[in-house]
């Protein structure tokens, strides 16, 4: 028995009821589970801006006048559609991992002559392994998390690119023409006229995307991260007195119920916040919603 938060928890077999529950919910493993909620929030905090950047790059590329660049942009948005996303999650993690190892392999071991694909095995030299075989456990964890973030960003970047392409098209053409009439270059009209205005049009799509991103976070589990799904399965499983001070039956149902409630609360909170942002952005806009706000105020 490790350190306990409450002093009366030193001998769990003697306590009952709420007191037992308070001890049970503050064991070391449960604290780890609470931290994993932090992992989910961290993933969202990193992925959302990264995916937006990917999306912006994709949307800009799709508009490019140079044909190959525009193909890349359009291909990027098109490829993620039509295929189940979970397949992409499983695919990208292996593919990215192999890509990084292959690049390192080419750089670090130029003398290596054996082929990388030997039958059914993917072999790179020891120095090119990611992470290195002798690395600490936290390096492995961080690398896995990094791959997960990159995968999420690539997939959601494609969706964001789609939304942003639509938003760029929605900015009235007359606005751009006005910019041109003032002698602005194409680059200037893009950054000074289009980009500041497109967000109003992009917001509904992006809020939808944010909701979907929240709901995609349990897929972390599939990428081998010790996330909340992992802990819920681990802690909820039947525990016998032999291995723990807190024996209980199969409680996984209740753990997943707790996760369900967590996600519902998170969704509700996001809905409220996004609704506020939307109201702020529509203020003074020449749209039906903006007009309705004006009339309500008058």
């Amino acid at each position: 028995m490790g350190a306990t938060i409450f002093s009366y928890c030193s001998d769990p077999s003697t306590i009952e009821g709420l007191k037992w529950l308070s001890c049970y919910l503050t064991t070391g493993k449960h604290i780890s589970m609470y931290w994993s909620f932090g992992t989910v929030l961290l993933l969202l905090a990193i992925t959302a801006p990264t995916a937006l950047a990917f999306g912006f790059a994709g949307a800009t590329a799709a508009r490019s006048r140079i044909a190959p660049v525009s193909w890349i942009g359009k291909g990027y948005t098109a490829i993620v559609r039509g295929v189940p996303d979970i397949a992409f999650f499983l695919f990208f993690v292996i593919a990215l991992d192999q890509l990084f190892e292959w690049i390192r392999h080419e750089v670090k071991c130029p003398d290596w002559t054996d082929p990388i694909r030997q039958g059914n095995d993917f072999v790179v030299c020891t120095e090119a392994k990611l992470p290195l075989g002798n690395a600490a456990a936290w390096v492995h964890d961080t690398y896995a998390f990094f791959l997960a973030v990159l995968t999420f960003s690539i997939v959601f970047g494609a969706f964001a690119a789609n939304v942003l392409t639509g938003a760029m098209r929605a900015v009235p053409r007359a606005q751009i023409e006005t910019g041109e009439a003032y002698g602005m270059t194409e680059r200037q009209t893009f950054w000074r006229i289009m980009v500041p205005q497109m967000w109003v049009y992009a917001l509904p799509g992006l809020s939808n995307l944010w909701m979907v991103l929240i709901k995609a976070t349990p897929l972390l589990f599939l990428l081998g991260i010790e996330d909340i799904v992992y802990w819920a399965r681990d802690l909820g499983a039947t525990k016998t007195p032999k291995f723990t001070d807190y024996p209980h039956g199969d409680w996984r149902m209740w753990y997943f119920l707790a996760l369900l409630v967590f996600y519902l609360c998170f969704t509700k909170l996001s809905e409220i916040v996004l609704d506020r942002i939307n109201r702020r952005l529509t203020l003074g806009q020449a749209t039906a919603a903006g007009e309705a706000q004006r009339k309500a105020a008058a």
Binding site: D85, N120, N208, K215, P218, V229, L259, L264
Partner: protein
């Protein structure tokens, strides 16, 4: 071993017929295509059953949400919020473990822990909630004049719903509902990756694609095969829903017809 032999051995493997063991070596393209295709049977089954059953619950829920009576409206709103506001992945896990607990209490309900029944129930409720929101949106945007015209003809209640409200609601909702159907078929890949275990290695397309990727350390063959299957399935769904859409719009002049527009298919 020719490809025809592979088809006869593994063509129905996902249902438990044919070869008992999955291939352990010599992973030819043919084997991968056949086995992943065999898994598609499950995806089609899950999607079709959930969609057909979910349609009726969705219409009922949409009408309930539009009701003025809070006793009818509130449960519908909560049902939609719970299933749309939480990840399907967590819903699968929760349902599976709830079914396992239920099995402990009532052994007669043991069938629920099997994917063919339990997962279908979850997908059915999930798609019903998503579709109900779509139908509710359509119900709210039925032109006022249509309802007034029905009133002028003296139609009320069930007759008005069946002849005026329902057809217009379907017509308005159909493009979004097509997206929902595609989306649902994609969501069926989650079944064997969440709580529901596969018995005797009988799994869906993604299950086998993942099997090959794990065995060969090469994701560049099985996942593109899976992608091709899903693109074909998506095209079939679009084709069938397009026919229904044409029928729903047959009384309208060409330019007023609702077009099927493909939108993003996202994770739920």
């Amino acid at each position: 071993m020719t490809c025809w032999d592979v088809i006869s051995d593994y063509g129905l493997r996902s249902l438990g017929f044919g070869e008992r063991l999955l291939p352990r070596d010599d992973f030819t393209i043919c084997k991968q295509v056949v086995l992943i295709g065999s898994g598609m049977i499950w995806n089609v089954y899950f999607g079709t059953v959930a969609l057909l059953a979910g349609f009726f619950l969705a219409v009922g829920t949409a009408v309930a949400k539009a009701s003025a009576n809070p006793l009818i409206r509130k449960p519908a709103e909560w049902f939609i919020f719970v299933f749309r506001g939480s990840p399907l992945f967590i819903q699968f896990f929760f349902a599976y473990f709830a079914f396992v607990s239920l099995k402990g209490a009532v052994p007669a309900l043991g069938g629920l822990t099997a994917a063919w029944l339990g997962a279908v129930i979850v997908l059915f409720l999930n798609t019903a909630a998503y579709s109900a929101e779509i139908f509710y949106g359509a119900l709210m945007s039925i032109p006022k004049g249509d309802i007034e015209a029905a009133d002028a003809y003296g139609m009320t209640g069930w007759k008005r719903f069946r002849r005026i409200t329902f057809p217009t609601m379907m017509r308005l909702a159909w493009p979004s509902y097509t997206n929902e159907a595609i989306f649902l078929f994609h969501a069926t890949t989650l079944v064997f990756f969440s709580g529901f275990p596969s018995r005797g290695q009988m799994g869906d397309a993604l299950y086998y694609a993942n099997y090959f990727a794990d065995k060969t350390f090469n994701p560049f063959v099985p996942y593109p095969i899976l992608a091709c299957y899903f693109i074909i399935l998506t095209l079939i769904v679009i084709g069938i829903f397009g026919l229904v859409n044409a029928r729903l719009n047959r009384h309208l002049p060409q330019q007023n017809r609702g077009k099927l527009r493909l939108r993003l298919n996202l994770i739920r």
